[in-house]
Symmetry: C2
Subunit: 288 residues, 2 copies
DNA sequence: ATATCGTGGAGAACGTTGTTCGCCGAATGA
DNA sequence: TCATTCGGCGAACAACGTTCTCCACGATAT
């Protein structure tokens, strides 16, 4: 460079002490996996808004530009993070006796994955849910629904619906947590408790003539925790699904030991046409 | 070329023709509402990623810094846009005979609002759903559910669930539309048709031994359009809700003319405790 | 053992973003 | 008519994603 060197702590180490130290560090040649590792580290510490390429590079002790030899763009980095989230997610073999519980277990496992890292639901929401790597999971989920006896028309729709519920619920959960953490540092349960009390008081303070139901429910609006709310929503969906079992000649409730993964051929096309899963129609035109 | 004026259309108009023209323009003194108007204009033209304070200012013909006298930050601008989306959204008086249809109509109206402007679901998802301005809508929704005969425990949960489904579904819808628009300019139905064909072919091309259900459903995975898929999911939720009607001594299905908005007192606390609507429990700790 | 080559990381730079600071010009009250 | 106040303007700042050029290192060939 044409000018003088910067102040001391920005100087690179002297060669005789840098060389021996660099050996162990430089021998790990910075793979995409390591970049994703560092990105997760930064994500948990700084949140999605604080997840910058510069910070990821700093986490690895490398230059920013070095990252681009392995990930090509920040979007691809987020994509890799998204895919890793589902790595090793097992969906059990269909057991028609327990299909409701199996669906719930899948949803709980998904929520746990989303909550495992900060702002994960935001990342998840920003990606189209079915990449090639996720096809096995999709297949096993379809097996769950079809073997339960759900009509194909419903099977094709419920996968998207479940993941939408999963991601949407967890996203909202994250947002409350973030808002809470922002307004005061106490990330313990005390802050939650106080906010619940505040909300309850707020609802109760509304004019009862204009908000009869809101005020009537105020005492309990802040009562259940997130786990219970998640379960309640899940239960609504599963109950809704169950109403399709005694339709179209499908098995009535949850008969024993019938269909397993191999029953695809015999129920192939159902009553008439079956219907769309990941397929999407036309985009509804913007209306003003 | 540090000096020289730019080409003609970037030049401001001459004073003698600008002054009379500026009168009507400058007499509109740049309210927050006008900023939001311009922001919507930019949003529809450039998308959320292209929604820049600089572009909004350009749309208004003002300087960027002028915006900050009225909106204070981009986040607040997005908040105002979010709130305007619900302005004038009417939720009908509860009709216990038609509660299922009323819920569906609300959801359809919500989806229409979200689709009315580009990337609106992304904005909506980023905001906590219940601001003070939205309380009347929330109240009327609670009325719908309670008058239908749903237990308070369910009423408190289903509002969030419906809006989650609404926003999540539309968000995914938007993402497909955006991806489609990006990969080729043809925003007509032809592009959608081609993509559906591609997806169908892709699913069908998978190895049937590893993906029996996916291949079995391939022919119909891309069959329904978004409207039908939305309705199908809605139907699942409503059916799930209906299963709660003959519980806890609530009315069996949809009896005539009972309860209206004034019935809050008599069914106040139901069987035991009722449960949380917007309240959220503690944040589940990150697990690694 | 020496010279050559190629790869991958380093550093600086570019264009763009949200936001802030100091200034000016035009309305308004005395 | 003067002083004041307020809203818009231009420039600037820090930080972002991304790209460019260059250099040092290890492996290969002679």
């Amino acid at each position: 460079m044409s000018t003088g060197p910067a102040s001391d702590d920005t100087l690179p180490a002297t060669p005789w002490e840098r060389s021996p130290r660099r050996r162990p560090a430089a021998r790990v040649p910075l793979t995409p996996e390591r970049v994703v590792d560092a990105a997760y580290e930064v994500l948990d510490r700084e949140g999605l808004d604080g997840l910058t390429m510069r910070r990821v590079a700093a986490e690895l002790g490398t230059a920013v530009s070095a990252l681009y030899a392995h990930v090509s763009s920040k979007d691809e980095l987020l994509e890799l993070m998204y895919q890793r989230m589902f790595a090793g997610l097992e969906i059990p073999d269909p057991d028609p006796d327990r299909w409701q519980e199996q669906i719930k277990e899948f949803a709980r496992a998904g929520r746990a994955r989303l909550l495992a890292h900060r702002d994960m639901a935001r990342i998840s929401m920003a990606h189209v849910p079915f990449t090639a790597g996720l096809l096995p999971q999709l297949e096993r989920m379809l097996a769950l629904f079809r073997n339960a006896g759900l009509p194909d028309r419903i099977t094709a729709v419920v996968g998207d619906m479940l993941s939408t519920y999963l991601e949407g619920f967890t996203l909202e959960e994250e947002m409350w947590a973030a808002r809470l953490a922002a307004q005061d540092g106490g990330d313990g349960t005390a802050a939650w408790e106080r906010m619940r009390a505040e909300m309850e008081a707020y609802f109760a303070s509304l004019p009862p003539d204009r908000f009869p139901h809101l005020t009537a429910l105020s005492g309990v609006m802040a009562d259940e925790d997130q786990d219970q709310r998640f379960e309640a929503g899940l239960e609504i969906i599963v109950r809704g699904l169950a109403t399709y079992l005694d339709e179209d000649g499908a098995r009535p409730a949850a008969p024993r030991g019938a269909a397993d993964t191999a029953d695809t051929a015999d129920r192939g096309a159902g009553p008439g046409r079956t219907a769309g899963g990941t397929g999407h129609g036309r985009p509804a035109p913007p209306q003003d």
